[in-house]
Amino acid sequence: MKTNLADNILMDLGSTTIKYFRFDGSGNLSDSGYFPRDYERVVGEQAEAILHDELGYNSKNDIVKICSSANGGLKIGIIGYTERFSAKWAEKSAVNSGANVLWATDIDNIDKVPSETVDIFVIAGGGNKSPIFRQSQWLKIIKNTPIKYESIVFSGNELLHEVVRGLWPKIVCTRNVLGEDLNWQGEDLVETLREAYLSDLVSKKGISNMRAFSSVPIIPTPAVVQKSFKAVLDLRTKFYFSTPLLMLDIGGATTDLFFGGELLPENGDLNPRPPINRHVFTDFGVYTSKDSLLRKLSLSHRLSDFLRALDSSCAESRYLRIRENDIDWIGTDFLAEACFFLALDSCYSDLQGRVNLELDRVACVVVTGGASQLCDAPKLKRIANICGASNAKVVLDDEYQIWLEGMM
């Protein structure tokens, strides 16, 4: 492949692999490779070692361009006034946002909280009109407990906002997760954690050392894929896909969906629809979001359809095992298929808060990211069929053409 790049090493720091493509002085692809993530080391350290030890990086001759999606998967700790309601509802919000809940407990078990630092510590408790005296005392106990966290969020009784700001000046307050009838109303907390999750994808943490190597600021992987998607629609690439096109980037932390405005249903308004759209499923990923992915999968009303599409001979036993949280047998390929299914099913079923698309109009579904190396196109085609995209061809970007296009 010939490129007009000045950079000669392109690197992608992912959750499950670090991959690179190297080009010679004439812009021809000379070398490429993949390294599984070494979870004993932070991603930046491993990438730096690869540059030096494997690629023989020479700061005078080599120009490096880096993108990253490696830090997805926020770790959350939760303390609720009661374990049954506030802690439970905050946990539900965290899972819905795609974050991973490390622990969720009440004050009685506060001494059992693991010593590991969480990215975000969420406090929830009390109905909005409940008296605050005892709750204020409760907050003071939490304040005096040595919990290690990066950021702190309060999603409890809104009458307590002043008190919590007094105790933790940098605290972020959201709407109470507890509704009037003790029902869940955690959308605001979901959104807060989701935003934090997305910014965490290219956070400073863990890859700050790599800035010294990159010729441009480290780019978030979704931006790379989005650039490529636009190039495909504009016919500026050397490869072509039929349109309407749906592109899924399935990675370790997220599943990103890219689609044109023509797939959005008519809603009667005359406003032009955006030509390029992206939706991030922060809870669907094969590595850091594995727990939230499997939880969503086990609760999917169409789980049995999905399992039958994969292999009808063992669908029933797999169904029960997933529903009973017996998941040791599940491999990464299955997780990637689950991301594909849940993302398409969300579009098909018009799930609340998700994107609703006319999937029957899709001509081609392209799968890129780590899943393109794990999945089997005929299986994905069967999944696409049950999700309403029965007219679509399924293509795997198994040579990372889409990623390369976006990095150029």
Binding site: S304, D305, R308, E316, S317, Y319, R323
Partner: protein
């Protein structure tokens, strides 16, 4: 219509399950050995085949202590009950075996009954076998367990040959949150186990619990649930099965329901290409019972008459002390004698049934068939999955069921003749003519939307 599922992993699952600490006292083949040595009279399916002109009688009863349960068993056997019950305590029903064992120990120490039934797994299968020494009648397991795999393994090890329950009837009315799909798949295991341990001449008998919440359940919904459980069991190889229903307060409707159950069962089995011997079981009034003896006796007598007129194969009886707490052995024995006497008074009277009952039967049958078609004709998906979806979509909706997946949108009221009529079908698809008839029958009663009006309907036997 349905393809019988292949359970190549049944034996694998069973081997894992048999490692459970409550089951390890006996080897995996214990039930096979015992059942082959048990007298034929101990088999429920055999009892049905040899019954006389009157329905067989089954009382209820379960105590924590082995000695009390033995005393009850002997008393019931002496009273000429045709089936001996073994009612399980609520901790065992929820698979909380450790708590059941702890409370049993306390009960044994203090002599006080701290459990509301017999904790089979805490006693173990060997002790439970001894409960029935010298008894030559079938034993029926009554429980309410959404996941009954372990309990039924132990019951079969104990020589119990009739297993009540099902994925719908033991989850929607009995559990708040046990997932329906898991209940159905785990009951598939139970059905498969019963089929596996059956022989042609001595099948293990399964029975569904059609009383459900016993609170304002329209008869067509009872028929639909019973037929689905029959098909689910037959699909797994069960060859002897009873559908059941309970006394509603309307004689006409009870007789019509019995007729509809029989005809819809036959038709659906035939359409599905499945085969099973189907029996009919009638439960005497399951709702709030009158406190005074006179009314209780009258209600029980009417129940006995309905059992004969409906040509039920078995009647499950209530006691006159029902409203006062857990009946003792003597009350249960008296109930058997009273039911038998009342039924003898009605012997041969089923031929008098006609007219209004036939019209009602046809209406129930049409509604049930219409709903069954809506549930089952959803493409090439397994039966358990069709049923799961039907619950989640609100097509199966049992009034006053506590389960979180029950949509609870269907409302029913009593008409001026005490029959239960649909006043609002919720999401349940029903034929237009049926709904129009129900509304017409309700007449002015539909206008009374008050809570008091509903309570009057529910508490009809006590007010």
């Amino acid at each position: 219509m349905f393809e019988i599922e292949h359970h190549s992993n049944f034996h694998e699952r069973r081997s894992v399950l048999r490692q459970h600490h409550c089951l390890v006292e006996l080897p995996e083949d214990a039930a096979v050995t015992l059942l082959s040595q048990l007298s034929k009279a101990r088999f429920a399916s055999v009892a049905y085949q040899t019954r006389g002109p009157l329905p067989l009688i089954q009382p209820r009863g379960g105590f924590a202590l082995w000695e009390h349960q033995r005393e009850l068993t002997l008393a019931l056997s002496r009273s000429e009950a045709d089936f001996i019950p073994l009612t399980i305590d609520s901790h065992t029903r929820h698979n909380d075996h450790d708590r059941a064992a702890t409370l049993l120990k306390h009960s044994e120490t203090t002599g006080e009954n701290l459990l509301n039934g017999y904790p089979l797994l805490a006693h173990g299968a060997t002790s439970t076998r001894a409960l029935f020494d010298g008894i030559d009648k079938p034993i029926s397991l009554r429980h309410g367990t959404p996941d009954a795999r372990i309990l039924v393994e132990a019951a079969l090890d104990s020589g119990i040959t009739e297993i009540e329950g099902g994925g719908l009837c033991y989850s929607l009315p009995y559990s708040r949150s046990y997932p329906i799909d898991r209940a159905l798949l785990n009951w598939q295991y139970v059905d498969r186990l019963c089929a596996y341990l059956s022989t042609k001449k001595r099948p293990i008998h399964r029975e569904s619990f059609g009383a459900l919440t016993a609170t304002m359940v329209p008869p067509f919904m009872v028929v639909v649930i019973e037929i689905l459980e029959l098909l689910l069991a037959a699909e797994q190889g069960v060859s002897s099965f009873a559908v059941s229903f309970s006394q509603t307060g309307s004689l006409t409707q009870d007789l019509a329901t019995a007729g509809a159950l029989k005809s819809v069962a036959a038709r659906k089995l035939r359409d599905s290409g499945l085969n099973a011997s189907v029996k009919l079981v009638f439960h005497q009034w399951m709702g709030a019972f009158p406190h005074d003896r006179v009314r209780s006796d009258a209600l029980i007598s009417q129940g006995a008459a309905i059992a004969v007129l409906s040509e039920s194969d078995k009647v499950v009886v209530k006691t006159r002390t029902e409203a006062l707490g857990i009946p003792d052995a003597e009350s249960n024995a008296d109930a058997v004698i009273a039911a038998k006497y009342s039924m003898e008074l009605c012997q041969g009277a089923h031929s008098i049934v006609g007219g209004e009952v036939f019209e009602e039967k046809e209406a129930i049958e049409n509604a049930a068939n219409f709903l069954l078609d809506a549930i089952l004709n959803v493409g090439e998906i397994p039966l358990w999955d069709c049923v799961t979806r039907a619950v989640r979509r609100g097509l199966i909706d049992i009034p006053f069921a506590p389960h979180q997946d029950n949509s609870s949108l269907l409302w029913s009221r009593r008409d001026s003749n005490r029959a239960i009529r649909v006043s609002d079908p919720g999401k349940v698809p029903l034929p237009k003519e049926f709904l129009a008839r129900e509304i017409k029958k309700l007449g002015n009663c539909i206008e009374n939307q008050s809570l008091d009006g509903m309570l009057d309907d529910i508490m009809i036997m006590t007010r």
